[in-house]
């Protein structure tokens, strides 16, 4: 786990297992999230992400294992543990009888908080998330983007130290997604530990410092984002020549370069960025001019797909 962020854990999961009948939803997973981390929890549908999240927040009964939140066992010290966690679920589950402002105030009440301080914080959050003008409406009158922001505001009303976001940008437009990313970065910079599940891998790549990937109930990778990206094997260089290639230069042939006569393009896979100038120099030394050059870097998506194929 090179580069994995060290520190006292905000979340520690030890040997967590959960079955639904004969289906193994989560199979003996261990996971640790450092305080202050921005942690991505990725996996395909049905891999066990939501089951794990539900186990952390107490919505799922676990068959085996232990979950500690800032050192508090979420089974034994459940009141303290739950007080420290905020959940923004993927599905909207707001109380349809309450106004937007009251959704926040009542949620704080369930967490044992009341009084003028809570009402002030609710107003601050409504303002910050652009919902102040809708404070007296029910959530049914909100747009999809506003509902998504309300989910986040509600998760923050009791000032949790660990914020869990289940697909926070699912179904929102690009503009709002960028806006939400900014808000999440601010929260994280202010010290809130964030766990993010998302299907947008570029989101995880740009936001998360550390990432765990779960598949069929098992953690198949857990590392820093940088280290995970270093596993990529799909960086590729394509060089289009000014005229047809007569003979593949031996240096490129040794690296399993391929040539497409139709487009007069040489392809070199699994090439580190640092080796690109040398490869281009070989082509030029062979007497060709470079009509076009493209270097395609592999993304987290490639790493993810690699892992899923294994």
């Amino acid at each position: 786990m090179s580069g994995f962020r060290e520190g006292p854990p905000a979340l520690r999961i030890e040997h967590l297992s959960k079955h639904y009948g004969t289906l193994v939803a989560v199979d003996d997973i261990c996971l640790q999230v450092a305080q202050g981390d921005f942690f991505g929890f990725l996996g395909p549908n049905g891999a066990g992400k939501t089951t794990t999240i539900n186990a952390i927040v107490g919505l799922a009964k676990i068959d085996a294992g232990r979950i500690d939140i800032f050192g508090n066992d979420n089974a034994r010290d459940w009141r303290v543990a739950r007080r420290l966690v905020g959940l923004a679920p993927q599905e909207y589950n707001f109380d349809r009888f309450l106004s937007i402002r009251d959704i926040l105030i009542y949620q704080a009440g369930y967490y044992g908080l009341s009084g003028e301080g809570v009402r002030r914080r609710a107003d601050v959050l409504l303002e910050r998330f652009g919902l102040a003008s809708k404070a007296r409406d029910t959530y049914l009158k909100l747009s999809g983007g506003m509902k998504r922001r309300l989910t986040l505001a509600r998760a923050l009303i009791h000032e949790p130290r660990l914020l869990i976001l289940d697909e926070p940008t699912a179904g929102v437009d690009v503009e709002l997604r960028i806006e939400l990313w900014g808000m999440l970065r601010e929260l994280n910079a202010a010290g809130t530990t964030i766990i993010l599940t998302t299907h947008y891998l570029e989101e995880a790549e740009s936001m998360c410092r550390n990432i765990a990937i779960i598949e069929a109930g098992c953690i198949v990778a857990m590392d820093s984002t940088v280290a995970l990206l270093a596993r990529r094997r799909h960086d590729a260089l394509s060089v289009t020549l000014d005229r047809p290639l007569a003979v593949m230069p031996p240096e490129l042939a040794a690296r399993a370069a391929r040539y497409d006569p139709a487009t007069r393009t040489i392809f070199l896979d699994r090439l580190a960025p640092a080796d690109v100038p040398a490869a281009l120099a070989v082509v030029e030394k062979a007497g060709y001019e470079l009509a076009d050059v493209e270097f395609k870097r592999a993304s987290l998506q490639d790493v993810f797909l690699d892992l899923m194929r294994k």
Partner: protein, 255 residues
């Protein structure tokens, strides 16, 4: 385990907000139905009936009608609130919060009691104005209202947890609660019934609720007060135990 009093009180407030948001389903129907019962059965047909348990038939009806509405509304409200919360997942707001099962059940039960007291007082107002029926023993009336609303509030929680669709909640109302209440002494004393039917009535739990509540108005009952209170108390304890056990185990709440 109690500890999060603010959480419990928040749930009570939330339930009362819900009650007043659906006031046309919860508060007004019992009042209007009671007025109609009193007009048609009490003052209409009842004018031909001599006194029952020492009061006019219309005044005799009032305690039974209050119990009828208290039972109907407390069961209906807690069951639909729990089921709706499950169906829309909004109940997760309190499930992820530091609230114990006792606080969650307590919140639903206290709001059932408050709702029942409100309905009972409104019907009492109707009774006082229309037929001059008021309790002689307010404390007993309050005790029975609290026990019965707790019992049906708890049964509502159980039904709200068991139900897979709204239709299932109505099954208990349609096939069990309403028939048992109607034959449980709302409209007549068992003294008027043939001995065989009277003996069958003794197996109807609703009879004891109505009999004990009516004692608070007329000072008379068909069965000893201690027996009626004992039956209602036992049933309430059982229903609360069931609601609490199911909630603590996370039945259909925590996967």
């Amino acid at each position: 385990m109690l500890g999060n009093w603010t959480g419990l009180w928040t749930l009570v407030r939330r339930e009362m907000v819900r009650t007043f948001k659906v006031i046309n389903q919860v508060i007004w129907p019992p009042i209007i139905t009671t007025v109609l019962y009193v007009l048609v059965f009490g003052l209409g047909i009842g004018s031909r009936i001599p006194t029952v348990q020492g009061v006019s038939y219309a005044a005799f009806l009032i305690p039974g009608l209050i119990m009828l509405q208290v039972i109907d509304q407390t069961y209906g409200e807690s069951s639909s609130s729990v089921f709706q919360g499950r169906f829309l997942n909004s109940i997760q707001e309190m499930l992820i919060a530091p609230m114990s099962s006792l606080e969650i059940v307590g919140g639903f039960i206290i709001s059932s009691i408050l709702r029942a007291i409100l309905i009972a007082l409104l019907i009492l107002g109707v009774g006082a104005v229309m037929v001059h029926a008021t309790p002689h023993n307010w404390l007993l009336a309050l005790l029975v209202t609290v026990l019965v609303s707790s019992l049906f509030g708890a049964l509502g929680i159980v039904a709200g947890l068991l139900a897979e669709k709204f239709d299932h909640i109505a099954v208990l109302t349609t096939f069990v609660i309403t028939p048992l209440v109607f034959v449980g002494g709302v409209f007549t004393t068992t003294q008027f019934l043939p001995p065989f039917v009277r003996n069958i009535t003794l197996f109807n739990p609703m009879f004891y609720m109505i009999d004990a509540f009516r004692f608070a108005f007329t000072g008379r009952s068909d069965e000893p007060l201690w027996m009626s209170l004992g039956v209602v108390g036992l049933l309430t304890g059982g229903a609360l135990g069931a609601a609490l056990t199911m909630t603590a185990r996370g039945y259909k709440l925590r996967a």
